[in-house]
C-alpha cells in the first residue's frame, strides 16, 4: 500500500523561484525522509526528519512535519535548473505497522519538478 502521497504530481517553475512539495501519510512513523531521483537513476537521500521534530533545514532545503495532520512539506529555495528531478517522500514506520510483517521505507508516487531556466 502507498503510505506517502505527494502533491502536486508535477510542478513547473522559473529558476530562482521557490518550490514547495507536500506529502501526506497514513500511519504512525519513526521518521519521514525526502529523496531525489534524476531521470532513470537511483534515489538519493536529501533529508530526514524525526517524528518528534517539526522543522529541519539543510542548505536550500527546508522540511516541516506535522504529525497531527500526518503531513510534511519540502521547500526548495532559490531553485536552479539542476534541481529538475522527481522528489519522493518516504515514511519509516515502526516495525509491523505497515503490515505484512515487513519493515522498510514506504514511498509515495513522487512530484516531478521542472525548473525552467
Amino acid at each position: 500500500s502507498q503510505q506517502g502521497e505527494e502533491d502536486p504530481q508535477a510542478l513547473s517553475i522559473q529558476e530562482g523561484e521557490n518550490a514547495t512539495m507536500n506529502c501526506s501519510y497514513k500511519t504512525s512513523i519513526n521518521n519521514l525522509q525526502w529523496y531525489r531521483q534524476n531521470s532513470g537513476r537511483g534515489l538519493v537521500h536529501l533529508i530526514l526528519i524525526r517524528s518528534n521534530e517539526r522543522e529541519k533545514h539543510s542548505g536550500r532545503l527546508r522540511v516541516t512535519l506535522d504529525t497531527s495532520k500526518k503531513s510534511s512539506s519540502l521547500l526548495i529555495t532559490a531553485s536552479r535548473a539542476a534541481d529538475t528531478a522527481s522528489y519522493f517522500c518516504a515514511t519509516d514506520a515502526p516495525f509491523g505497522v505497515r503490515g505484512g510483517g515487513a519493515d522498510g521505507l514506504t514511498f509515495g508516487k513522487g512530484t516531478h519538478l521542472i525548473i525552467q531556466p
Binding site: Y35, G42, L43, V44, D103, F107, K109
Partner: protein, 114 residues
C-alpha cells in the same frame, strides 16, 4: 564513497526465463531492500531482508523470490519472467538503526521482458 551496486543497468529477457538481479553494498548494512518503480505507481517494496538468510515479504512479492547468503549481497529472482514484470528495479540498503534509517540506492536495473 559508500556504494550500492546493481549488476546491470539494462536487461532484456524472454518470457518464462529465470532472471537474477544482483545487488551488492559495501557499507556493512544489515537491511537490504528490493523495490520496483513503475510510472504512476511510485516505488513498491517487493522484499526486504534485515539479516543474512532472513527475508520478509513486502507489498508485492508475488512472482519474486530473494536470496541473502552474505551480508553484502541481496539477490532478486524472477522464477519465470512475465511481461508484467517489465519495470525499473531498485536495490537499497540501510543500517539497522531506528534513529537514522537513511537508505542508499543503487543506480537501478531497467528490465524488459519480451
Amino acid at each position: 564513497d559508500v556504494k550500492v551496486t546493481q549488476s546491470s543497468r539494462y536487461l532484456v529477457k524472454r518470457t518464462g526465463e529465470k532472471v537474477f538481479l544482483e545487488c551488492v553494498q559495501d557499507m556493512d548494512h544489515e537491511n537490504m531492500f528490493w523495490y520496483r518503480q513503475d510510472p504512476g505507481l511510485g516505488l513498491r517494496l517487493i522484499y526486504f531482508s534485515y539479516d543474512v538468510k532472513m527475508k520478509e515479504k513486502g507489498d508485492i512479492p508475488e512472482g519474486y523470490s530473494v536470496s541473502r547468503e552474505k551480508k553484502e549481497r541481496f539477490s532478486l529472482i524472477l522464477e519465470s519472467a512475465s511481461t508484467n514484470q517489465t519495470s525499473m528495479y531498485l536495490c537499497a540498503s540501510s543500517p539497522h538503526n531506528k534513529g537514522n534509517t537513511e537508505a542508499f540506492f543503487g543506480q537501478g536495473t531497467r528490465l524488459t521482458v519480451v
